[in-house]
Symmetry: C2
Subunit: 428 residues, 2 copies
Amino acid sequence: MNIPQSSYPRVIIIGGGFAGIALAKKLANQEFQVVLMDKHNYHTFQPLLYQVSTGGLEPDSIAYPIRKVLQGYPNFYFRLAEVSQINKDKEEVETNIGSLKYDYLVVAVGSETNFFGNESLQKNSMEMKSIPQSLNLRSLILENFEQALLTDDLHEREALMNFVIVGGGPTGVELAGALAEIKKGILPKDYPDLDTRRAQINLVQGGDRLLPAMSEIASKKAEDFLEKLGVNVWKNLRVQEYDGKVAKTNDDTIFETQTLIWAAGVKAVCLNGLNSKEFLCRGERLRVNEFHQVHGFENIFAIGDVAQMESETWPKGHPMMAQPAMQQGRNLGDNLVLLSKGKAMKPFNYNDKGSMATVGRNKAVADLPKFKFQGVFAWFVWMFVHLYFLIGFRNRIVVFINWVYNYIKFDREARLIIRPFKKKYQLD
Amino acid sequence: MNIPQSSYPRVIIIGGGFAGIALAKKLANQEFQVVLMDKHNYHTFQPLLYQVSTGGLEPDSIAYPIRKVLQGYPNFYFRLAEVSQINKDKEEVETNIGSLKYDYLVVAVGSETNFFGNESLQKNSMEMKSIPQSLNLRSLILENFEQALLTDDLHEREALMNFVIVGGGPTGVELAGALAEIKKGILPKDYPDLDTRRAQINLVQGGDRLLPAMSEIASKKAEDFLEKLGVNVWKNLRVQEYDGKVAKTNDDTIFETQTLIWAAGVKAVCLNGLNSKEFLCRGERLRVNEFHQVHGFENIFAIGDVAQMESETWPKGHPMMAQPAMQQGRNLGDNLVLLSKGKAMKPFNYNDKGSMATVGRNKAVADLPKFKFQGVFAWFVWMFVHLYFLIGFRNRIVVFINWVYNYIKFDREARLIIRPFKKKYQLD
């Protein structure tokens, strides 16, 4: 892979997400050779993907070139690569661009959509875990409205304007809220010749409340907010089958829709060589100890969504979110330095700063450790926190300007079909 | 096509570029039913495409939703459609989404890359006339550097870092300058493990000077600027063949390159039904009279790049640029109103405001009717003019911020491979 030999031990980090980047920053100017691999040449700020899908933000402003993060770090190498295999015996990572030996291996590959083995859903529904997927969804939503204009079949037209979002976690709630605002603020002006009141946004949740990882009051408020925005919230309902036209559920409810977005589950990305039962927990996460070490290995670590560190407070591991990932990355960075100096590592301790979700303008819910609040103030805090954690000054300012503009104008100007989604597959 | 009947005459505008949009704005609140068709749902600000290709700007900030332009205009309809045929006898436009009759037809379909029938060039070189094409070029440039890192074959590595831009008009000059700045300011920091000094930027011009449509002094200065930036400028040289690896020219010069950008010619987009010899001039433009009427028709008009209005001052028609297109659109708008009121139309008179090209930071050339100037001031004027003509307040401010940021930081942060180019075709 054309990485020079070094007198320092080599750390291979697979994945440039929140965990991998936090770790890389900690290892700058330490006595390691660091090789960071990712299948994209950019870091994605996943919490704002739904705004790319709904035309509120450009993809470029929630992505950041990984090479730029590493600029000026000595002994750092980035490789655009897809890992095909971990060879634990030879201590080697195999990729599409060759193999590379490691002294320390850090798996930070994150998570992907979990369809729980359901093939019809996997084949026909939209995902929103990456920038290309979010852009596909943006294109599809806009293409469907263009197509709705063209049909005289009222049934088909309604199916084209009927959106079903499966999963009542933060992604589902935020996307449903954004679509509801588009329905209200943009569609009537963009499509004066279409009865856009018939557009429906359905949010389908398997459990008995939205945002199950948050407090009861947050769930309740989020539901209120969504209903005020005109979203149909369905609880205790599970979508079980979807052929691209009709979604069937566990009861008699069916949805005729040409857009089903699956946000009902994630699972860890699996790497060959680390996918046998001994390493894995539920959701295919890698079982790690309090030093992020993968079960049975001294020099293989896992951090971020892919890792499951079980503890008394977190019996199922930490939530699959940015905060634990960043904290784990930083802790592992410190520990690798300690380890290389022959000192004892410090066990990881998750500092839960709480969680938030936004529903729409002036509407968000926040559960902080000390207090819980909802509404305008939560919404401002949500924006501030997201701007703060976004990487790059230019990104922050561009996102800020877009938000101010969208807020004042009730608008989302990035409603552009740059790469058509349907054409790609159907060539029509 | 689901357009209601109206008591007003129907104007079909094909194309939402500078000409089509300028015309549409003039027809707002007039006694017409207007149907604007485009194969994209956005207007593209083509003069800044090269900045998208080189990671300086997001595609979304140089595009603008056409539906938003038309918001609030009564009797306006937008259709995302590709026109397949003009049926002059039935006065009907045939598209991929159905047919529609017109009372007045305005062809504003613009221009596309002209390979002058050369198949090897058409197949293997990159174009830069649309946003998807510009994004493909952005991906390819970045992918090539990632690939250059991986090879031990010095020959191949140099071919991956060797850029050949064919065509010394504004597009070629601007792109060459931008690539030279990337080579100087970004590559050494992004690729510390690559000898990026070996990267070469070649600008190949068939004639004996760059920017042949501008003044001698502008040509001279642009060449000086490019040479200062380290661009190899080749004059009186024509690329005649390119197999994806080696470009052959009309003399012994060859270029081993994996990136050849063809900016050496444009031609009008041809529509079936208007493509017989009687309508066409050189470059497949439609011959129009001083009222933009296509030869032989009272109610078929052509404006913008696609139209050739020959006059004493402009024996080969107006330049294929934004200014004439916008002026023609506005003039035709006024004329259609006059025509519908039974009044005499006003012949078009092109007000030449001059032309400009930018080479790099603080380096531009400008030929205004009264005076010609080059350097820092020309560069500021260039930026101001481009911001002024960009559609949309949000776009202007986002582009402005990117420019300020790039200027201060010597950076271009949108160097993201969102959709890989090579993978798309080679599936590797």
